[in-house]
């Protein structure tokens, strides 16, 4: 048991509580559901951040693959305001043709898993006044007395987001996830249904959710 757990370990733990009534597909679906709910919650969601390139004239950018909720977006390190279409239409019915440094972002279609920048990035081929350093591209060199980095790649768009994960599940969240899954799995109709068991698991999960 390391500092982090993962989906496989949690599913194995569930087996010890479910005895013979273990439906792997159903449990796996509920695992995803629970992790998505954690990502939507305000209590200790699992979060990460990522960087993207901005392309001149391109106004939509996909979510990071694991993202559930965008917590903040930055263009050239300026935090963008979250707006909706009605706010922009109140500003100008012609807002879609605006071009310039992005000031805000919106989600036109939730299902598209992308955000739209407003105005559309102008770019222009000149060196920007600020860009993020992509630390994932660093080559770290550790000598006797200092650490230095090599050739960072520069990016313009950054996201903070809550996410769902199958790995790097923090140990403090494992018991909550375990009992939340057990409660859901044993509460729906079927051979595995056990309402008293589900209620007990839910009571414990509710308590652990605040940890």
């Amino acid at each position: 048991m390391a500092t982090f757990s993962n989906k496989t370990e949690i599913l194995n733990l569930i087996k010890t509580f479910m005895h013979s009534d273990f439906d792997e597909d159903s449990i796996s679906d509920i695992y995803s559901e629970v992790l998505q709910d954690i990502a939507q919650s305000s209590l200790h969601p699992l979060v990460d951040w990522s960087l993207s390139d901005v392309v001149t004239g391109q106004h939509t950018y996909p979510y990071p693959a694991s993202a559930i909720k965008i917590l903040a977006a930055f263009h050239k390190a300026k935090q963008l305001n979250f707006v909706d279409v009605k706010q922009l239409e109140a500003y100008s019915m012609d807002w879609r043709s605006s071009v310039g440094d992005a000031l805000a972002y919106l989600q036109e279609e939730q299902s598209a898993r992308e955000i739209r920048l407003f105005p559309s990035p102008a770019g222009g081929g000149t060196i920007q006044d600020f860009e993020f350093i992509d630390t994932t591209d660093f080559v770290w060199q550790n000598t006797t007395d200092f650490i230095w980095q090599q050739t960072p790649r520069l990016k313009e768009l950054a996201f903070f987001f809550s996410e769902t994960r199958d790995t790097k599940i923090p140990e403090w969240a494992v018991l909550f996830i375990l009992f939340e899954i057990l409660a859901r799995e044993t509460s729906h109709p079927g051979e595995q249904q056990d309402l008293a068991f589900a209620e007990a698991c839910q009571n414990l999960a509710n308590l652990l959710a605040t940890f």
Binding site: M1, A2, T3, F4, T16, F17, H44, P45, L46, V47, D48, W49, L71, A72, F74, K76, A77, K78, Q79, N81, F130, I133, T135, F146, I147, W148, Q149, A158, F160, S162, K168, P170, E171, W172, V174, L175, F176, F179, L182, D194, A196, F197, E199, A200, C201, N203, L204, L207, L208, T210, F211
Partner: protein, 197 residues
């Protein structure tokens, strides 16, 4: 003296009337669960702390905590050059007064904030690589055998036993007993948290 896994198992199994561990396997079930219970409780109680040097990069104020401290849960304190940095209650406060906060650089660190438990903001960025000292509540070490000792203090071990009892009662499908025991745990947890204030 710190309690051992054996001490706790002895009390637990007596309460569960399962002396000898007939219904439970220590190695595959109880000890791994005890380990997780200690970790879960310490995330809430913040009793077991650790500290270390956190390396900061030039022109950067956002960090993934686990890259340097995979055992960190909550950052309790950060100091830089002997100064304690101000802890922001919510990272969104930065944007409340400055939408350009994410590119601010300065001559010394002033404050910090966590986003969830994964990301750390140390504000403002410095133009050179530097370091700060951090103190954090930790993921306690894994318990693997009966002679291992708990890192939680003795006065918190009653919570470990109560939470383990609840988990074992669910495992045994003893729901009446579970319902009777649950309020004891919630009350004890509340009392333990009050001590910190």
């Amino acid at each position: 003296m710190a309690k051992t896994v054996s001490d706790v198992l002895s009390i637990l199994l007596t309460r569960l009337r399962a002396d000898g561990g007939v219904a439970y396997d220590n190695t595959t079930l109880l000890i791994p669960l005890l380990s997780r219970v200690q970790r879960t409780l310490n995330a809430r109680l913040r009793r077991v702390l650790a500290s270390g040097t956190f390396i900061t990069s030039a022109d950067t104020l956002i960090y993934t905590i686990r890259d340097q401290f995979p055992d960190a849960v909550d950052i309790i304190k950060i100091t830089s050059g002997g100064r304690t940095l101000h802890k922001m209650k919510n990272w969104r406060e930065y944007a409340d007064y400055d939408t350009d906060w994410f590119k601010r650089t300065g001559t010394r660190f002033e404050s910090y904030a966590q986003i969830g438990r994964d990301l750390l903001i140390i504000y403002p960025a410095l133009s050179t690589a530097d370091s700060v000292e951090i103190t954090y509540s930790k993921i306690t070490d894994e318990l693997t055998k009966t002679t291992d000792t708990f890192e939680l203090y003795d006065e918190d071990i009653d919570l470990v036993i109560l939470l383990m009892e609840l988990i074992c009662l669910i495992h045994q499908r003893l729901f009446v007993e579970f319902k009777k025991k649950l309020p004891f745990f919630t009350k004890a947890l509340k009392n333990h948290l009050l001590v910190l204030r």
